[in-house]
Subunit: 219 residues, 2 copies
């Protein structure tokens, strides 16, 4: 169940540039859904680690997964605090002064304790969501995970509760005097672009490229 | 000074899929240079935080920066352990089985203690590198940072010493029996694409779009 707005905590309150912060559930969810991957932070013996991985959202739960036995999941599944961050870069912000260069971005930070999903049906649903997150419609076309594969995979669930979004939009904001600097200023939009799909050379003849792959895009 | 290969430590040794790991200095540096942003992990009171930020490399040092007074830099500049991770996604890897779906990627993880750059010349050089990392050639065109702006910025340096790269390339590897599944399989290349630059409406008339902005690309 989602609520319209998350309650900021001391740890998710933006002290710098609070105007860039958002606790709106729909905003947080949309950023999580658009981002192809996330970065997961956890600590082992006081050393933080940050690893990239795919994720999926079902309602107000975020799911991540990995191979049983990996350092990351062995560390995390006991129930230690994690931070999951996703970042979408929308534009380079080129100002007239070095100092006011920036980027337009949309990011989400989720803090919490990730717990292992052990219920078989719940685990299978999360596993399918992880495929659907990357290519919607894909899980119905492929050979689904069997018991052995599900057993070899650890799936973790993190509530999207102590979370916030941070968003910058718009043109550079230069110091008044710098608008006279004779230098181009503006935005360079950046996005994740998909190229022409490359069929596996082992593909059986006569299999057509499905439309969701042919015209793949995020957002 | 760079050496041809980094020495793996227990913390940077890839136990799973060691064939994907690389300790080659040129490989690690190239990934860091291509990535537009990094994700920095640090812990405060046992809670990990992961924040996106821009970075730059000079030789075997990685630089990150931020506003004096931000939670992140206040925590980190005292010299606490950090993890800096960059990730480039090259392709979606669409297999015939859900389980063998993957991504082609190039990532780097650096562990270490970040320290504040206080020497003014060193700090200015790092500051310029942070601009050059985003748009090469840009720092010569803009109004450079003044003393007050440099004072308002914390620059941190992290040696690229305890670090490793992880790389996946190539087509999906399905189980032998699954090659008979009648489902498209292959790669969807993905990359960071730049759109048409959008000039600041406040741009003075007669300023041309510089070539490095007009034909912006990473890598």
């Amino acid at each position: 169940m989602t609520t319209p707005s998350l309650t900021p905590t001391e740890r998710t309150t933006l002290h710098r540039r609070p105007a860039r912060g958002s606790y709106d559930v729909a905003t947080v969810h949309a950023i999580l859904d658009e981002a192809l991957i996330c970065h997961v932070g956890f600590s082992v013996d006081g050393q933080p680690y940050v690893l990239p991985t795919t994720h999926a959202r079902i309602g107000d739960q975020l799911y991540i997964h990995g191979a049983v036995g990996g350092r990351f999941l062995k560390s995390v599944k006991g129930g230690i605090p994690v931070c999951v961050t996703v970042t979408l870069i929308d534009a380079l912000v080129l100002a007239r002064s070095a100092f006011h260069h920036s980027m337009n971005y949309r990011s989400v930070v989720i803090l919490g304790v990730a717990t292992e999903v052990t219920d078989p049906l719940h685990k299978r649903r999360a596993f399918e969501a992880l495929i659907e997150h990357v290519v919607p419609g894909r899980s119905a076309q492929v050979r689904g995970a069997n018991e052995q594969e599900l057993k070899a995979t650890t799936v973790l669930s993190l509530p999207i509760l102590e979370a916030s979004a941070k968003i910058r939009t718009g043109q550079p904001i230069d110091d008044e005097a710098d608008y006279a600097v004779q230098c181009w200023a503006g935005l360079v939009p950046v996005s994740v672009a998909a190229g022409k799909p490359i069929a596996d050379p082992k593909l059986s003849p006569g299999i057509a490229l499905p439309p969701e792959v042919a015209s793949y895009k995020r957002a």
